[in-house]
């Protein structure tokens, strides 16, 4: 019963019709243009998220009232090919300095565009924050939403 659970990382891959350097820039410097507005931390609306373009840089959310909410850090800044971000948000979108999970993003030229591969790993560390997990699982964004979502998917 006490065996540790090591979930596989979440992996995503997408092809974008844009040169490698531009893809990297849009992902980082222009993250405010595409980051889903629904995924926010502060109580007020989000102005935009910001990734400071350097190793050790902050990754935070700038709110419309000027508040800054931490999301994580930049662990590796290696344009235009590689980026490792540290994600420190619990599943209920609260910053937890003790939660450290990595998001690695690779940008590889492919044909006339760029292959972008994302890996979010160290997911077992979310399990150590089981209090937040419980809240999320039972909260409106947790099980009810997921079940509804999969229900919709199942109808297709």
């Amino acid at each position: 019963m006490t065996s540790r659970i090591r979930p596989a990382p979440v992996r995503k891959s997408i092809f974008v019709q844009a040169p490698q350097a531009r893809a990297f820039d849009v992902f980082t410097r222009e993250i405010g243009q595409w980051w889903p507005k629904s995924h926010k931390i502060g109580p007020v609306d989000v102005e935009r998220p910001i990734i400071e373009p350097r190793e050790g840089g902050r990754w935070y959310e700038l709110d419309v009232d000027g508040t800054e909410c931490e999301i994580g850090k930049v662990a590796v800044w290696d344009p235009p090919a590689r980026l490792i971000l540290v994600w420190q948000l619990t599943p209920d979108f609260k910053f937890d300095p003790n939660l450290v999970t990595e998001v690695e993003v690779l940008f590889t030229p492919e044909g006339d565009g760029t292959r972008v591969e994302l890996e979010h790993r160290d997911l077992e560390r979310f399990g150590e924050r089981s209090e937040a997990m419980r809240e999320t699982i039972s909260g409106p964004g947790g099980w009810p939403m997921l079940l509804e979502l999969f229900g919709e998917e199942a109808k297709k």
């Binding site: 844009a18 531009r22 995924h39 997911l123 399990g127 699982i137 964004g141 997921l146 199942a154």
Partner: protein
Amino acid sequence: MANAAQLISALADPTRRAVLERLKEGPRPVGEIARGLPVTRPAVSQHLKVLKDAGLVADKSVGTRRIYYIDPKGLGAMRAWLDQFWEQALDAFKLAAEAEAEKAQKKDDE
């Protein structure tokens, strides 16, 4: 650990969703889960096995009974959440990157 496809197929079945709904209220033995569901008890056991394999449900022995519960460390829900989150985020990123690239292309053409 379950992959996303396993999770989706585990949750795609309405009976299994009903089983999970039951377990949301608290740990239950098979008999109690089966009560009120339009399927046999062996069928419920089978569904529980699929949910267990997907990392959504765990079980433990209490005396002679086997109790099933939603696995808080199973991370199934969290994985599904992250999976969906990044899917949505990357789709939005693709749109933004391609719009930018197109703008730059037009500028070069002028």
